[in-house]
């Protein structure tokens, strides 16, 4: 029986781990050595097998073959509880804290042995004593919902330490943080590893974080271990080559000079945010034809609400949206007349009818378009089928059949199907939100190509994205949204990531 080591980091090794799902091999003979007290980065594209590997480590999956050594002794991860007992803990990409409870309450209820009746005075004393040993602090007396994202992430890490876990798996821990917050959190994590308190395995795809914080790196591609070693010995080029493979898909996006004319303007818009407590205020934004206007910002700063205002899902208290000078209320007739299309984030959830077929889903824009711009009364199933055949081919949607439910498609194929639907015909403006969220590298690349292509054809694109790299790569002009307002504007030529990051974090 191996006991949880209350103090000190523990080592973990995977030996020849293979995981098969039916005929599909998600992990192929992966061996990774993570010595105690090191900060290990796990790099790879989406679909490379990173999540599968950590799920095997945590006991969510039973590896088809291979061994796992914890502190040098074989451990059989049959169950997530075993992992917990051995001191392995995981911090998920999205917060798992209860927002309405305080930090202290979250910590106490997360324990496996929480008594039915909690003596809060004693617990608080114990927590205070525990917190004095922590290298960083988070207010424990406030509801988690009031904490900033960085503090929540720190609390997630504190929770793992509180639970006695000494090997932490961090799954893209900085995806919801500002660059400054990310550096702070990772700095603390690094300090903890250097002090020998914990061992860390971090899933990431940000090279900067790997080179700045990690000791070692392992790179997976298509389920195989394709490289790794000490970070000090590897350049970013080495890592990127291993991650993308020998023939990386290089974007051949060329940007044509386009005529830029004002198309859509937002003036003096006021609305309530999702909670109804904070205002959303957009004073003056103009979207031009032939440009990609990127709206950067950290999740939850009003971008979702902005999208809802533009799609007519959220009521404006003041202000107006004009397209070509005419009032725009996002009705179907107006959207059709002005050729304005939308691509919301998570299209399966926000832009598809999951139980309807692929063919029907790609018909959403055209099913009622009759001759002479009138609304048709009868469904034209022939036209729907022809439309489906054309778009499935043109946008390379992989589906078993046009009659299959769209929910049965993979994320990239759903995104391409929806993009095909929205980019058909003469599109004057496309309003996009996080188009590449959760997609693999190839899908991301093809979707960005389509966006730039549409821009080159003269389409006005409003790109709302939480991925700053995406904004920097695609935009002609960048706006930064913070606290429900546009905080900063810059053309791409003078865009500076650090400065944008500061505006995103609300430091100005």
């Amino acid at each position: 029986m191996i006991h949880t080591c209350e103090n000190g980091a523990i080592s973990v090794q995977t030996l020849h781990t293979t995981m098969r799902f039916g005929a599909f091999t998600a992990l192929d003979d992966v061996s990774i050595d993570i010595p105690a007290g090191t900060f290990h980065a796990l790099l790879g594209e989406n679909g490379a097998g990173k999540s599968t590997l950590v799920k095997c480590m945590m006991g969510f999956y039973n590896a088809t073959s291979g061994e796992l050594l914890v502190k040098g002794r074989e451990a059989r991860m049959t169950d997530p509880k075993v992992a917990q007992k051995l001191g392995l803990g995981m911090v998920y990409q999205h917060f798992t804290l209860v927002p309405s409870l305080t930090g202290a309450e979250n910590l106490v209820i997360s324990r496996a042995d929480t008594p039915g009746l909690i003596d809060w005075r004693r617990e608080t004393r114990a927590l205070d004593a525990f917190m004095t040993k922590m290298p960083f602090h988070v207010p424990l007396d406030q509801p988690v919902s009031r904490l900033a994202a960085g503090e929540k992430q720190k609390l997630e890490i504190i929770k793992q330490l509180y639970l006695g876990n000494r090997f932490l798996i961090l799954d893209e821990p900085t995806s919801v943080l500002t660059p400054a917050e990310a550096d702070e959190v990772l700095g603390h994590v690094r300090a903890l590893t250097q002090a020998g308190e914990i061992t860390v395995l971090m899933i990431t795809h940000k090279f900067r974080e790997v080179s700045a914080f990690a000791d070692d790196v392992s790179i997976l591609r298509r389920g195989k271990y394709v490289g790794g070693g000490s970070v000090a010995d590897m350049s970013i080029e080495d890592m990127s080559r291993a991650m993308m493979g020998e023939a990386p898909v290089i974007s051949t996006r060329s940007r044509r000079d386009t005529v830029k004319q004002p198309l859509l303007t937002m003036n003096g818009i006021k609305a309530r945010d999702r909670t109804g407590l904070k205002p959303i205020e957009i004073d003056d934004v103009t979207l031009h034809s032939g440009e990609i206007l990127g709206i950067a910002g950290i999740s939850g700063n009003g971008q979702m609400e902005l999208m809802e205002i533009l799609t007519g899902q959220r009521r404006m208290e003041q202000g107006d949206i004009r397209v070509n000078g005419a009032q725009y209320g996002a009705t179907r007739a107006e959207a059709r007349a002005h050729a304005i299309r939308y691509l919301p984030e998570e299209p399966l959830r926000n832009a598809c009818a999951p139980r309807m077929s692929v063919a029907e889903n790609i018909a959403f824009r055209m099913f009622d378009a009759g001759k002479d711009g009138k609304t048709a009364f009868w469904n034209d199933s022939g036209a729907i089928a022809r439309n489906a055949a054309t778009l499935i081919k043109a946008f390379n949607v992989k589906t078993s059949s046009p009659a299959a439910r769209i929910a049965s498609l993979s994320g990239g194929n759903v995104q391409r199907a929806v993009l095909g639907r929205e980019l058909t015909g003469d599109v004057k403006a496309l309003i996009v939100s996080n188009p590449c969220f959760g997609l693999d590298f190839a899908a991301v690349s093809s979707i960005r190509d389509r966006l730039v292509e549409a821009r080159n054809q003269g389409t006005a694109i409003l790109l709302i994205s939480e991925d700053l790299d995406e904004i920097m790569e695609l935009s002609d002009r960048i706006l930064v949204m913070s606290e429900g307002r546009i905080a900063y504007e810059t053309p791409i030529a003078t865009a500076n990531v650090e400065q944008i990051g500061q505006y995103m974090a609300g430091h100005h």
Partner: protein, 369 residues
């Protein structure tokens, strides 16, 4: 991170399409049929527990519901209100609304028809009949349409609102029948004045059933055409499956919701009209016969498909028609049929969780994500 499986090699795309289409159709048929059979089995166990023979029960259902011209008449007389009540569930269901208060629209439709019947005396009888039916449909449509409006404008839960409004409707019927519109001649059973013979709806030729059965079938056909063959129906299906997607497409979600609920209410109101004009001859407490509630079961068993509603309604009408026979022969209470319906309904609701989950019906189903 998602794990995508390599597509299984299937012959030609046409064959794959056909397989996928057949699989989806099979799912839509086999799951409710399986649920119905499971309901039969569960109810049989219940009968065995009571010491009664399930075989005898189903034999009596056959005898009482379907075996002779007389039993068919008994069954068919129940089909019209059941079909129309089921449409009152199925149409809103296309927009994702669970409306269970069709009983209210039937009752008020019947009342409106009976009251209109006393007002149209002197008009040509055909015109009088049309006016009665229109009045019934309008009131039923307003009643259920209001529930749709409450839902979309005020976020009121339509299921609870429709149920509670059914009680209000019944209370209104009782109030008017026992008060302002009471026929002084109706002594034991307070009723409105009986409608004139010329305004009564008779039986169809060759079939031992009134014209309401045909009207119900035609209503089902029209609703099916509306849902499956028109752009309005297509838009309603989008909104019913994912309202956010419909909003982003700029579809008039509020109008669709109010329109479909009102149309459903109009169907149920028409059912009330036939109950008055073809069966009871006046509005009274006999209108509160529970068709609105059995209609919920019919619609769910039919997966809200108007065409399937017709056979399912005939089946359940047969069960209800045999209630009396079962009571006499098996010494079981009249409510036994309700126990049966309740069991089938629970199993139907449970079976909803199976759609899209069974791999045999979903060849492209992802194994893990």
């Amino acid at each position: 991170m998602s794990i995508t499986f390599p597509q299984k090699a299937t012959g030609s795309p046409v064959a794959a399409q056909l397989v996928a289409r057949i699989a989806l159709r099979a799912e839509a048929v086999l799951i409710p049929v399986g649920a119905l059979l499971a309901g039969f089995v569960a109810f049989s166990l219940f009968l065995l527990f009571l010491g009664k023979s399930p075989v005898e029960f189903f034999a009596l259902v056959w005898k009482g519901g379907f075996s002779s011209a007389f039993s068919w008449q008994n069954t068919l007389s129940r089909v019209a209100p059941l079909v129309l009540a089921a449409l009152c569930v199925a149409l809103p269901a296309r927009l994702g609304l669970v409306v269970i208060g069709g009983e209210g629209a039937i009752v008020l439709g019947g009342l409106a028809a009976a009251v209109t019947g006393t007002l149209v005396v002197g008009l040509p009888s055909a015109m009088g009949m049309v006016l009665m039916a229109v009045a019934a449909m309008c009131l039923g449509g307003l009643w259920i349409g209001a529930i749709g409006a409450l839902r979309i404008k005020r976020g009121v839960n339509e299921t609870i609102a429709s149920l509670l409004m059914a009680y209000i409707a019944i209370a209104l019927l009782n109030h008017f029948v026992e008060g302002p519109f009471r026929d002084p001649a109706s002594l034991n059973k307070p009723s409105t004045a009986p409608i004139e013979t010329a305004l009564q709806v008779g039986d169809m030729p060759f079939v031992a059933a009134h014209w309401g059965v045909l009207a119900g079938i035609v209503a089902c056909l029209l609703c099916w055409v509306l849902i499956e063959r028109t752009t309005i129906g297509f838009a309603a299906r989008i909104a019913g499956d994912n309202v956010r997607a419909a909003q982003i497409q700029g579809l008039p979600v509020s109008k669709l919701v109010i329109g479909f609920t009102a149309l459903g209410g109009a169907c149920a109101g028409l059912g009330g009209y036939f109950e008055v004009a073809a069966v009871h001859g006046s509005a009274n407490a006999s209108l509160i016969a529970g068709y609105g509630y059995t209609g919920i079961l019919v619609a769910f068993l039919a997966r809200h498909n108007p065409l399937v509603i017709i056979p399912v309604a005939v089946l359940l009408a047969g069960f209800e028609a045999s209630g009396g026979l079962i009571q006499r022969r098996m010494d079981l209470p009249d409510a036994t049929v309700l126990v049966f319906e309740g069991m089938v309904f629970i199993i139907i609701l449970l079976s909803e969780a199976l759609y899209g989950r069974l791999r045999i019906f979903n060849p492209g189903l992802r194994g893990a994500s």
